[in-house]
């Protein structure tokens, strides 16, 4: 990887800091994004002056598809982009169309995803499994498995479930959810892609029976009376990374100072986004048509960790539904890149090889993160890897001393030790490592 030559250099660091004093040195950074709530850090960086403070200006450019984000970044229409974390890992593994290596030096946020099933399907689950409405995600998944078995016996068509992109946390989380209850997502249901803004419509039209997507689209489907949330990201993997800052290696190499300033600005913006008192302002900003659009009341409610899960009015409080800065949220843990690779291998998108492990790990760049934030008040983790999905709180070493991380177990309770990735993938009761990726009959 060409950009591996960018190594932390204390002298560069001093130069970068000193330059901050000269605000006349303004640089424009073109940032591609998809309208989802986790663009918050990017929007706050520009709108609240954190970027300007670093002598840069963000030109935020809205797009409609992740494939466009990938290609427009590759062909220099964007300098950096709001990206699905697995896209960067897939790009370094050479997967998908037009793979162009992309680095992740900064995680833009955690949380926000949810799995929404059609109200009709959920009512079937209630009838069959006696659900009252306050069950946990695993119980819901098992009820779904019962309905799927009953449908098969009755000769009904397989359920159709949607996510937003083949290399997305949504794909892996939806599959994880189903597989934890013994459902084979490649055999028992049909997986397809529906763009986020079309999810509620597709569900209302009966074209899909469920979807996994980021905020605010789950709550929009519930508000429209068509969807029922049965699991959120926090149920499947509480600390899961969601979107990252995607950077082209040649840009990182040729603009190291701008990249550092950008990371400093994003760090400050992320800290600002996490302050509860700032959330109403953040909701107002995100509701602007140029960003996510829609109702600032609905966005505001999501930002206060309160999710309407059923059209009957059932609310669910999800602590840290969207996390932007706390618990080293922005740190690109290499172990997370490897976990994403483990899921690509589990579902046959990639084969598990030593070379693949190196390539997947190369997508995440904690060195660039530390380089930019060296000497700041933000605690910087010392290690690049940790055990993911620990069932007990863990303590990590940072530049500001030990930091406690809450327990963040996976839905099925299996923890991921990055050094034992082969055993980990082999240990899933439901997996399709040779499926040739994806699913059978689509829509």
């Amino acid at each position: 990887m060409t950009a591996s030559s960018i190594t932390p250099n204390p002298r560069d660091q001093r130069i970068a800091r000193a330059a901050v004093i000269r605000p006349d040195h303004s640089r424009v950074v073109r940032v591609g994004f998809i309208p989802l709530l986790d663009i918050a850090v990017l929007v706050a960086a520009e709108e609240q002056g954190f970027a300007a403070r670093e002598g840069i200006s963000l030109q935020l450019i809205k797009d409609v598809s992740w494939a466009n984000i990938r290609d427009r970044l590759a062909f220099h229409q964007f300098d950096v982009a709001h990206m699905l974390a697995p896209m960067t890992v897939a790009s370094c593994l050479g997967l998908g169309s037009n793979p162009s290596p992309t680095l992740a030096p900064f995680v833009l946020g955690r949380g926000g995803n949810a799995i929404t099933l059609s109200v009709g399907l959920y009512r079937d689950m209630q009838a069959l499994a006696g659900l009252g409405g306050s069950e946990d995600a695993l119980t819901n998944a098992r009820a779904l498995a019962q309905v799927i078995a009953a449908r098969r016996k009755a000769g009904q068509r397989p359920l159709v479930f949607a996510m937003t992109y083949p290399f997305s946390s949504h794909n892996y989380e939806f599959r994880y959810f189903m597989a934890a209850a013994g459902i084979d997502p490649d055999r028992d249901v049909t997986m397809t892609v529906v763009p986020p803004p079309l999810t509620a419509d597709a569900m209302a039209a009966g074209a899909i029976d469920g979807f996994c997507v980021n905020a605010p689209w789950n709550m929009i489907a519930v508000e429209r009376g068509v969807g029922r949330v049965v699991a959120v990201k926090a149920d499947i993997w509480p600390a899961a990374p969601e979107k990252v800052l995607g950077v082209r290696p040649d840009w990182a190499e040729s603009q190291p100072e701008t990249l550092s300033r950008l990371i400093v600005a994003l760090d400050a913006a992320a800290k600002w986004c996490d302050v509860p008192e700032n959330r109403p302002t953040l909701a107002e900003m995100l509701a602007q048509p140029a960003y996510v659009g829609g109702s600032s009341a609905l966005i505001g409610s999501l930002l206060t960790d309160r999710l309407l899960v059923d059209p009957d009015g059932t609310l669910r409080d999800i602590p840290n539904y969207l996390t932007f800065h706390g618990e080293a949220a922005n740190f690109p843990w290499v172990s997370e890149a490897l976990w994403l690779y483990s899921q690509m291998a589990r579902w046959g998108q990639a084969s598990l090889t030593p070379d693949g492990i190196d390539r997947a790990a190369s997508a995440y760049r904690p060195d660039l993160y530390r380089h930019a934030l060296a000497g700041s008040s933000t605690p910087l983790p010392i290690a690049d890897r940790k055990v993911e999905g620990s069932a007990v709180p863990i303590e990590i070493a940072t530049t500001a001393g030990p930091m406690a991380l809450r327990a963040a177990p996976f839905l099925d309770g299996r923890a991921f030790e990055p050094d034992r990735i082969v055993d980990y993938v082999a240990g899933f009761p439901v997996a399709n490592p040779t499926a040739g990726s994806g699913s059978h009959d689509p829509l």
Partner: protein, 228 residues
């Protein structure tokens, strides 16, 4: 009084389109391609732009062209048609559906190469710049692919030009409308002739270093507020 002109705009669009198609024909007639059985699907919700592209492809001797609109049936329809080439506009969110489709080996009966020919980065770049993307079935001859993608790029660019010209024509008409209204207000309220009213507007625009249409708009807005 310019309302009448506005209703001519769709006609104007077709006229410009016809001119453009004519010019393209003249350009491509020199090297006609033999008709053959290549199947091309155009996924574009913009019917006018799709028509421009289909016309170009037929000119180039490709008759098996089908336009499909975005719908939840997109993947099923593509699987039924089993095209050699899929051309999709970049404004179309359904592009991510295609990405998934190519991840799923059993959907299409033949192996699908990804995004045009990966070795030809300049062609992909030109396509992305023009706002179009193409997916090609593996094994299709390189020259054929290039001709089709080049056609898509040139037609998309032509459509873009057409849109810009239309937009300019429209804003010019809007300018003239607002200037006429401002003149009318000045003529009534200050008892001026049409030429005097226009001269006054022009003088104000020069003094304030603004466009006459902007001055006229301010005047119309102010008059509205004052109930004149």
């Amino acid at each position: 009084m310019f309302d009448g002109y506005l209703s001519f705009l769709p006609g104007l669009a077709w006229f410009l389109l016809a001119l453009h198609v004519h010019a393209e024909r003249a350009r491509t007639d020199g090297s006609p391609m033999k008709p053959n059985a290549i199947r091309v699907v155009v996924v574009d919700d913009n019917a006018l732009r799709a028509a421009i592209l289909v016309d170009g492809l037929r000119e180039a001797g490709i008759d098996g062209v089908e336009v499909i609109e975005t719908s939840t049936q997109l993947v099923r329809r593509l699987a039924a048609i089993d095209p050699d080439v899929i051309i999709i506009d970049l404004e179309n969110p359904s592009r991510d559906m295609l990405e998934q489709m190519f991840q799923v080996s059993r959907v299409v009966s033949r192996p699908v190469a990804m995004f045009v020919d990966q070795s030809d980065q300049s062609m992909i770049r030109a396509a992305v710049d023009a706002g179009v993307s193409a997916y090609i079935v593996d094994g299709l001859k390189k020259e054929r692919v290039k001709a089709i993608v080049d056609m898509a790029i040139s037609r998309f660019e032509a459509f873009d030009r057409l849109q810009r010209e239309l937009l300019e024509a429209r804003s010019e008409l809007a300018d003239r409308k607002v200037i006429d209204r401002a003149k009318g207000i000045l003529m009534r309220s200050r008892n001026l002739s049409e030429e005097e009213a226009y001269a006054l507007l022009r003088q104000a625009a020069m003094n304030e270093k603004r466009r006459i249409a902007d001055i006229a708009q301010s005047l119309v807005t102010a008059a509205g507020l004052l109930g004149k």
